[in-house]
């Protein structure tokens, strides 16, 4: 254990112009243990930002702060400023329900509800009352499934259970489910770690396409994946944000020693 490392300030381009989300001075604690140390980060619009780092470095924790998923964990405390456009999402006036309709999340393990494929995708629009009638709902569902690249595979069995799909299909169903609420930001927490290479490739292509309409934050433990899908990359280490830069720069010419060590596989 190297316990006495001076992490110092994050190197690279932390700030961007006109960000979709901006985080200032984020600290996260699990009971007494600090998981995130004073992180500043801007997330640009219609871009994919990847978060990489060794396991337990706090990248997932950070991701889950962006739509307050950590609220569901009793012992978790979050401080700092998290802004979505102009709204501080941790302020008292912000309701977590519409927030999550603006910042969607896709999890590591595909978790379709034990409902039909259609109902899975329609779940979000239904609870939020987004569709006025069945026609609108059908359109949202079909469009979301198409964007998730799943429609052609399931259009004949929309009313069969979503849990009957293959792992990769399930994950795309979960993405469709998230898209169906029309979020501005999609968080992805290692979305491919439970999938085989072919399914992974499909999801990666999908992420690339979704960039047109959404801002995407993806946590991944695979550096190759980060290199393939993201425009910016943030490197986390022991709860500190070490470096943020354009993906190409991070992988070809990292500024920080720790980043370089990680990229070159000295640890991880």
């Amino acid at each position: 254990m190297q316990d006495k490392i001076e992490y110092g300030k994050t190197v690279g381009d932390v700030f961007v112009e006109n960000p979709r989300m901006s985080v200032r001075g984020a600290n996260v604690y699990y009971a007494d243990k600090q998981a995130i140390h004073d992180v500043d980060l801007d997330i640009a619009k219609n871009q994919v930002i990847a978060m990489i780092g060794p396991s337990g470095c706090g990248k997932s924790t950070f991701l889950r702060c962006l739509n307050r998923m950590n609220d569901t964990i009793d012992i978790c405390r979050v401080s700092g400023e998290f802004k979505l456009d102009q709204d501080n999402i941790y302020s008292k006036e912000i309701d977590v329900v519409p927030l999550r309709a603006r910042v969607g999340i896709v999890f590591q393990k595909p978790n379709p509800f034990p409902k039909s494929i259609y109902d899975n995708v329609a779940y979000g629009p239904r609870i939020h009352g987004l569709a006025k009638n069945k026609v609108e709902l059908d359109e949202i569902v079909e469009n979301s499934l198409q964007k998730a690249g799943l429609f052609d595979e399931v259009k004949d069995r929309l009313h069969e259970s979503g849990t009957g799909l293959s792992g990769g299909q399930q994950q795309r169903l979960c993405i469709a489910r998230t898209i169906a609420v029309g979020p501005e930001v999609i968080l992805m927490d290692e979305p491919c770690s439970a999938l085989d290479p072919i399914a992974t490739a499909k999801i990666e292509n999908l992420i690339d396409e979704l960039r047109e309409n959404f801002t995407i934050v993806i946590v991944t433990h695979s550096m190759q994946q980060a290199a393939r899908v993201s425009q910016r990359t943030a490197y986390f280490h022991m709860g500190h944000l070490i470096e943020v830069n354009d993906t190409e720069k991070v992988f070809t010419n990292p500024e920080h020693k720790l980043t370089e060590d990680y990229i070159t596989g000295r640890f991880g």
């Binding site: 739509n67 998923m69 569901t72 009793d74 977590v96 329900v97 519409p98 927030l99 999550r100 309709a101 969607g104 999340i105 896709v106 999890f107 393990k109 978790n111 379709p112 509800f113 034990p114 409902k115 779940y123 979000g124 609870i127 939020h128 979960c174 489910r177 998230t178 609420v181």
Partner: protein, 457 residues
């Protein structure tokens, strides 16, 4: 030779054989080298060899002795007894002999002769029993001693013996079931010989009291089970109306909302509710809830019987709450957390998550919890015995008094019984119906739970 002294003898003998076996094993090892097993295993093996035949003899004796004494007595009995039906004979014999043996004075000289006869027979039997057991013990022990040699695998033999003993213990569960089935089945068959099955199943009149009158043939009492079934269902329904929503909501609240502080208070509360004996619930229902309901009914202009189905049903419902809540709690906790996160991540509120995601996912578990609770409610006895009525009313009105299957079993069997009357046998027929219904509910519920577990494991 009393039973206790026989057991004492056997224990001593067993210990003796153990020591003998050990001693012999040690000697053998001195003479010819290494033992396969420790000496104490040889001892234990010898003791085991002694107890196995003893056990066989005792079981055989238990099965044989009762009948043999009866038979020998009957052979000596007056002609008129011999000519009566077989069951009546034994019953008659015991009804006169047992009190006589216990020291009551015997006036009739013929009877006195029989009593002495009986006493002699029993004495002789006991002596034979003792000798047989002793013989079995000694022979078994000696046989075990003979087998001791240095390379004898005493430990393996002893351990496999123990294994068989353990297996026998686990078979008691099956024996119990068989015992239950046989005991209710036989008497029920006799009941259905007197009262036709269709009359029992479809009759709407239940008044078994008539049948005890000596001048009447058994089947003239009315044994229609329908009013009992409706009464049971009425009370069980009321109980479920209380227990299902409260128990379910309590489980949901405790597993999804409550802070650990609330949980640390509410869980013991439910455990207390579960720990209160049913007889206490019955007392509370009869002496507090029923009068309260009646007075309340009076004040709002309702006629509520003091033995209303409502009082029994409500209290039974409270009794079942912890049962429902702990089983549904298991079902809810078995729903993987990823589903919760998925729903929250889409922006659903907690209640939406629970109602639309967790509840459907936990539904099989919850259904089986409710089924088990229903089976509990149907089989519950003390609350209804104390708080529900005896009259078999065919009604769905919860303010009236109804009776249940269990209440009738108790009333039919408590107090003086005539062994062979349809009244007594009816209780077993009711018991059989109760057993079948609850068994079906349990099997369905357990099956559902099993299927459900497989899905998430």
């Amino acid at each position: 030779m009393t039973t206790t002294s026989i057991f004492l003898c056997l224990a001593l003998l067993g210990f003796g054989f153990y020591l003998l076996g050990r001693w012999r094993a040690m000697n053998a090892s001195v003479i010819s080298g290494k033992l396969h097993s420790l000496p104490s295993f040889h001892g234990a093996y010898v003791a085991m060899c002694m107890f196995v035949p003893v056990l066989v003899v005792i079981i055989a004796w238990l099965l044989y002795s009762g009948n043999s004494v009866d038979q020998q007595l009957l052979n000596a009995a007056p002609i008129e007894i011999q000519e009566a039906g077989q069951l009546d004979q034994t019953k008659y014999l015991y009804s006169i002999i047992t009190p006589a043996v216990q020291g009551l004075e015997v006036s009739d000289s013929a009877l006195a002769a029989q009593v002495t006869n009986f006493q002699e027979l029993t004495k002789r039997n006991k002596l034979i029993r003792f000798i047989l057991i002793l013989l079995a013990a000694v022979l078994g022990g000696l046989w075990g001693l003979l087998k001791i040699k240095p390379d004898f695998r005493a430990r393996n033999q002893f351990e496999s013996g123990v294994k068989y003993l353990l297996m026998a213990c686990s078979l008691i569960a099956i024996l119990t079931t068989i015992g239950i089935v046989l005991s209710v089945l036989f008497e029920s068959i006799r009941f259905f010989n007197k009262v036709p099955l269709h009359e029992f199943l479809f009759g709407t009149q239940w008044s078994p009291q008539i049948a005890i009158r000596a001048d009447q043939v058994g089947s003239s009492g009315a044994f229609g089970v329908i009013p009992l079934v409706t009464g049971t269902l009425l009370i069980a329904t009321l109980a479920m109306l209380v227990a299902a929503p409260i128990g379910l909501m309590a489980a949901i609240y405790l597993s999804e909302y409550a802070s650990s502080r609330v949980r640390s208070v509410a869980k013991p509360m439910l455990e207390i509710l579960a720990g209160i004996p049913t007889v206490v619930y019955g007392f509370f229902a009869a002496l507090t809830v029923a009068p309260f309901l009646r007075n309340w009914g009076d004040s709002v202009g309702l006629t509520i019987s003091s033995e209303s189905a409502l009082a029994a049903g409500v209290v039974m419902g409270v009794m079942i709450i912890p049962y429902v809540s702990s089983l549904s709690d298991d079902a809810i906790n078995a729903v993987p957390n990823s589903l919760r996160e998925g729903a929250y991540g889409l922006g659903s509120t907690k209640s939406e998550t629970i109602k639309q995601v967790i509840f459907p996912a936990a539904l099989p578990g919850i259904v089986s919890a409710l089924l088990l609770a229903v089976s509990r409610a149907i089989g519950e006895t003390m609350i209804v015995v104390m708080a529900a009525g005896l009259a078999a009313n065919l009604t769905a009105n919860p303010f009236e008094s109804v009776t249940t299957i269990t209440v009738q079993i108790v009333t039919l069997l408590v107090g003086d019984q005539e062994f062979d009357s349809p009244k007594t046998l009816a209780a077993f027929a009711l018991g059989l119906s109760l057993f079948i219904v609850t068994l079906c509910l349990n099997i369905i519920a357990l099956r559902v739970v099993r299927k459900y577990r497989e899905r998430y494991d």
